[in-house]
């Protein structure tokens, strides 16, 4: 088992900002683990603009925002990046095991920062009755398919939930030649940014049904249609308002849930409702020397704030390591 000063899990915006801040604060031995074959995390699939207005005073796309951090990381000899490296085990005394092509590595770390991000909430986490045909995707998965793999998920889509990913995917699918029948939102207002409602829905004449919900997904092998109904302020169905929309694709855009299995494995306290670490302040966990930042710590709206707060995590880890050495 080798010893490393600081190990950071996750090479997205949070992990990169934490690594750079730890370096600035004097940490000289940083290992950054990333399971994908590139740094950048989820920004790689967020090819639309709107990133970096606060951080860089420029409107960048996700890959462009990531690129600025990737270049700074690559210019830092103190930060060793290990790609295609998937952490499989974390203990409370900061021993970490990860798989990389051809090897299982074990490391004893002085401090650990978890920047593992989120996964998407799925259809199973909101009640939508009906069958289980093909053609139902979390919006972010559809985003990865279209933007990174070059696959079009279907021909006619209905989007459930008006979060920003859903709105952005509405525009993206129209540009790629799909028809987007509607966005269905159970709340009275859109959950996404106003500019996204305008530029992603109104620009393309896509109807947004507020105070509406999906009652059922129909289809044997492939989605065939969905049932939609209006709801009152208590989310009860209004009789006589139901209608159906034919479609072969349903995108689910109902939020994100932090990915904290490693922290749980290490025995740290986790809030069961939000799936976030329980700690005295943001970036801290219940285990001294194990930190969490970015979307793993709490779900953010803007990557600019992920970078800002993750830098604090890098600084905290440096202070922890410095204090321990004394």
């Amino acid at each position: 088992m080798t010893k490393r000063e600081l190990v950071i899990v996750g090479g997205g915006p949070a992990g990169m900002a934490a690594a750079l801040a730890a370096k600035e604060s004097g940490v000289r031995d940083i290992l950054l683990l990333e399971r994908d074959q590139h740094l950048g995390g989820i920004l790689n699939q967020c090819i639309h603009p709107g990133f970096g207005l606060h951080r860089f005073k420029a409107e960048l796309t996700g890959p462009e925002y990531a690129d600025r951090f990737i270049k700074m990381v690559k210019d830092s000899p103190e930060i060793q990046v290990s790609l295609r490296s998937f952490v499989v085990k974390l203990t409370g005394d900061k021993k970490i095991s990860y798989l990389k092509p051809g090897a299982l590595e074990e490391i004893e770390a002085g401090a650990i920062i978890l920047a593992t991000g989120c996964r998407e909430r799925t259809r199973e986490m909101i009640p939508i009755p009906g069958s289980r045909p093909a053609g139902i995707y979390p919006a972010g998965l559809a985003q990865k398919m279209i933007n990174m793999e070059g696959w079009i998920p279907g021909k006619e889509a209905v989007i459930v939930g008006s979060g920003d990913i859903g709105l952005i995917m509405a525009r993206r699918m129209v540009l790629e030649g799909m028809k987007v029948k509607a966005v269905i939102e159970i709340q009275k207002t859109s959950r996404g940014l106003v500019r996204n409602v305008v530029q992603c829905l109104e620009d393309y004449g896509i109807p947004l049904y507020l105070s509406h919900k999906i009652t059922k997904i129909y289809g044997a092998n492939r989605v065939e249609k969905v049932g939609v109904v209006e709801v009152d302020e208590n989310f009860n169905e209004k009789p006589g308002t139901g209608f159906e929309l034919s479609c072969d694709t349903v995108l689910i855009s109902v939020g994100l849930i932090p990915e904290n299995e490693l922290l749980e494995m290490a025995g740290a306290a986790i809030d069961r409702v939000t799936n976030t670490p329980v700690g005295p302040e943001v970036n801290l966990t219940s285990i001294p020397g194990i930190f969490a930042c970015g979307n793993a710590a709490k779900v953010y709206d803007l990557v600019d704030w992920v970078s800002r707060d993750s830098e604090k995590a890098g600084k905290m880890a440096a202070e922890y390591l410095g204090g321990k050495a004394l």
């Binding site: 074959q37 090819i47 796309t61 996700g62 279209i146 993206r172």
Partner: protein
């Protein structure tokens, strides 16, 4: 913000909170512009798709025509962020540029 219009021509803008507001409102009513962001197909490179954007906004009504042109592009050479993929794209005065670095596919990469 209130915009007084005559057909598609702006007469006056009121209630905007910064100087950009007046300019934006006039543009948005008279000739709305959008930056196109999309991805182009690649061959022999690290990823199957390269994310791209226009380096300045183009007329909103040209977005779908621009997408038709994007779909005819296949990229085979490595690029850097900002590399021009198509110059003066569709004669609209905007270049189509790469928004990330993308290198050649290495033989060891299996995907």
């Amino acid at each position: 913000m209130t915009v007084d219009v005559d057909g598609r021509r702006v007469i006056s803008v009121a209630g905007h909170k910064c100087p950009r507001g007046e300019k934006y409102a006039t543009q948005e009513v008279e000739a709305p512009m959008r930056t196109l962001t999309t991805a182009v197909l690649t061959r022999g490179l690290e990823l199957k798709m390269l994310p791209v954007r226009t380096n300045k906004p183009i007329p909103k009504e040209k977005l779908l025509a621009a997408m038709d042109a994007v779909k005819r592009i296949t990229l085979t050479s490595p690029v850097k962020t900002g590399s021009v993929i198509a110059e003066n794209f569709l004669g609209l005065g905007a270049d189509l540029i790469a928004t990330r670095d993308l290198g050649k596919k290495s033989p060891a990469t299996n995907h």
